[in-house]
Every structure is written in structure tokens, then in C-alpha cells.
Symmetry: C2
Subunit: 297 residues, 2 copies
Amino acid sequence: MVKKSGKKRSATAGWEGRAADALRVGPGFDLGELDTSATPGFDGDDAAGEALMKRLGRRLSDLQEMLYAEGRSGGTRAVLLVLQGMDTSGKGGISRHVLGMVDPQGVTVRAFGVPTEEERRHHYLWRIRRALPQPGRIGVFDRSHYEDVLVVRVDGLVEDDPWLERYEEIIRFERETEAARITVLKCALMISPHEQLERLSERLTRPDKFWKYNPSDLDVRAKWDDYMHAYQDVFDHTSTASAPWHVIPADHKWYARLAVTQLLVDTLEDMNLTWPAADFDLDAERARLARMLEETP
Amino acid sequence: MVKKSGKKRSATAGWEGRAADALRVGPGFDLGELDTSATPGFDGDDAAGEALMKRLGRRLSDLQEMLYAEGRSGGTRAVLLVLQGMDTSGKGGISRHVLGMVDPQGVTVRAFGVPTEEERRHHYLWRIRRALPQPGRIGVFDRSHYEDVLVVRVDGLVEDDPWLERYEEIIRFERETEAARITVLKCALMISPHEQLERLSERLTRPDKFWKYNPSDLDVRAKWDDYMHAYQDVFDHTSTASAPWHVIPADHKWYARLAVTQLLVDTLEDMNLTWPAADFDLDAERARLARMLEETP
């Protein structure tokens, strides 16, 4: 690809086609081939990315409000953003910097950690179903039901090999979720082992980051290849036509945030949202209010 | 009060003392005397308010993250912001513009409307208790248990006059909530009848606002004096030392948002939050990471 240079390019740079086309997992996808420092589909640098991000933020905010308005007016549609990725891959940053651009009233962020006692007594999808977004909302899962075919698999936390069965179960669950009018957007943030070490090291230089550091993160890290293998299997088996996976190179935080924002905006655009029409007599209400305004000091 | 004029004043203007002192409901408080277009305690105009708002936003964001970090590190403290006010008084705007300045992961906004069938089968505090913020979170109630001594009273939705009893119950409930380490901050946004009409009229001029308009809002409005009487009673009976009411003139949206932001910042400051200390051997972990970084391409 020939790159034009200079300020102008930066200011006008953008996506080449739809972001989803550059990020969607298709047949033959090979995680081992992924360049985690790439910026697929985006023809611009970080400055161009940040400029676009601002514009997208305003659009996202408008679309979110339309979705919320629809929910408040009897609509049942909602959106679920599923975020997966290794420690430090930036899932929390997506919640903060992408969803942080919209009205917090319309967003529910749910992080799934080690299951509680109660959660463990139920099927692994139990806690997931309970956390699905209400009508009109954007739900964010910071980790999700996919942990049950990732960490659970890598750490050998269940007997036998229920993975193929679980993939089927998950596909069924997501199909039901879509049938309940919740659009599912799945994003996996992928960083290199080196980038992860840099980010973990940074946490140890700042007292305001110590709480994010856990020595056992390094044990997880020792199983990097096992995780990549488990992720590859997840992508191979659960990237469906209606709920495909998007694999997002995330060594550049600006790119990962931009990519998820664009995917979210495109998802909402595809829903053809409109402002709910007035369900009352507009002229009559206007006249009534004008009369009252005259009478009220 | 003598006002200095000019740009300089605007840039340096701020609160005269603590915001809470200008807004807290004390003995002898008379809602009828309130000037809803005033900006008590703040010596500045809207431009000064917005400049301060930006600085406060950054501070609020830091404090919220410290609270969240504490919660993730075993702490149990949380904050609950209770918002009350007539339709169009700007409760939603507080959620959007004040809480919108912090990480959505750490915030839960819950709006309390007409109770559902299930909620109606329970005590009125049942749905409230279930919505209390988790450790480390800021919870926002857009309307609250106070609806059960406001609309329920004005519309005569229960038999007898349980108000005095309910005030006691609410005070007990809030005391329990504080004992569970959830700091309660109560704010009532107050607008004039004329301002409300202006805001309702505006909704009828914009197709993106029609969904917020409900002709029955005007029926509520017809009972304005009854509501003010019910509010006065609430303030008289439930403004306690540990969970006082703050009555915020809200004809100026910029002022109301600034006031709530400042109250929230002060509340969090009073909690003496600190970043959790490292619960691991910092030097050993640093050395381990440095070694790994050398070995990882």
C-alpha cells in the first residue's frame, strides 16, 4: 500500500472500507500469523485515529441515545459488546475510553472474574444470562462466557473435554440472545508477549497502578501458547455469521479503541435506529403549553 | 455581596467555603423562600463554572478510580448519590454530564419509575436495597425511595397517612446503609414552574426530544404546590446529620451540575482514599519482570 505523507493525509485518513471486513474472523484465520502491532484497515497514524475518535464519539453518543429512547418507548432491542483478551490487553481501557463517551445511564459494564460460590453452583451460562443488557442498553462484558472455554480449559478446571459441546452450547446461547433482539458484538484484543511485559512493568513503576498487579498474572503468562491455542479453537468454532469474532491487534491502544468504537458505531448504524415518533397530539400539546406559559410568571 | 467584574474574576472565581454549607438543609429551611435561579456559594458566572467543572472532572475521575481500586483490593466502601426533583429538573443531565466524566465501570445508574408488578408485591424499600452500589462503586439513584413519600403521597396511592412512619423507616434504612459503609449523598434539584414549562416546550420543538415528553407530566404539574409541600416535609424530617439533604437551585443547568460535582468530590475527599499498597514484594517482582523482558523478543 502506498502511503501519502504529511498533515493532510493524517487529517483525512480513515478506514479503507468497513472496519469489520478487516477484523472479522473468517475461514482459515490463523492467530499465529497475526501482527499485534498492525492497524488493519486503517490508513492513518495515531493523530488521525484520535481525530476520528472524537467524531465517532459524538456519533456513538447520539446512536446510544436513540437506542435508549427506543427502549424507553417500548422497544426491546439492546447491544452486547463481548470483550476478551489476555491480562493488560486493554479491556478496561475500552470500557473507560469508548463507553466513557456515552451517557452512563445507557451502559452496563459487567466484569466476569473467578466465579463466586453461588455462581459455581450453577451452569456456567447462569451468571451470563442474568447479566444480559436490558432493552435500550449497551451491555459490556469484560471477559464473558468464553472464559469457560479459555482459562477453564487451559487450567484444566473441569473433567473430560467438553469444549466441542460447549462451543455448540455457546452458539445456541448467542442465537437465543440475538432472537431476544440483543445484537452481539464480539471483540478479542490481542497483544504480543513483549507488549504484555511492558505493560506489567509499567504497573510496577506507578503507585496508582500497584493494585492492578498480581504476581499470579505471570503464571498465566507462562501458559501463553496454551491460551493462544485455546483462542484459535474458540475463533474456529464460535465465529458464526450472525455473531462473528473480531480479532483486534491491540499493541497500539489508540488503534484498539478506535477499532472497537467503529465496530460499535457500525453495529448501531445497522440497526436503523430512529427517534421514536410522538405518541400524542403534537399541536394540541404545543398549544396547551403556550397557554400555560402565558399564565405562569 | 460585592462582585468584582471582568475576565480575571471569572477565571479565578469559585466556591466561597464548602459547597455543602451553602446547600445543606438545616433547621428552619423554607422551600418557599428558595430562589431556583440563584447560584448559592458560587462566586462566578457560567464560564467560570465550566472552567471549574473541567478541573473537578479530572479530580472526580481520580477519586472514583481510587474508590474502585479500594473495592477491588478488599475494601467495602461505596457512595450512593440520591437524586430527586420534579420532571425536567435535570436529574438525567447529572447522570450524563457529571457521572459521564468518570469510568463507566465504576458507576451504576438506576432509575426508579412506577414500580413493576413484582416490586409492588414487596415492601417499598425492597427494590432500593437490591440496587445499592457494590463495594468500590458510585451508585446513582435517579429518583429513589423518596418517591414513596412524594408521588405516593401526592397521588394518595396508599391508605392512611404512613408518612411520619416512613420517614423514620427511611432514616433507619439510610443509617443501615451508612453502617454498611455506603456513604449517602442526597441532592434535590429545584426548578421554578416557569422553567419547567420552558423545558417541556423545548421538548416539543425537537423530534429527538419527543420521546421524553408525556402529556401526563402536565397533570403532575397541576399538583405543584402539593409536591412542594411534600418536599418540604421530606426535608424537615429526613435531613439527618449523617445524611443531610442538599437543595440545589437548578434553573441554571451549569450551576446544578457544578454543585453536584463539587458535593461528590468533597464526599470522596472526606473518605481519605488512598491507592492500595502493593501486597507483594515490589523489588522481587520488578527484578522478575526485568529478567523476563530481556528474554522475550
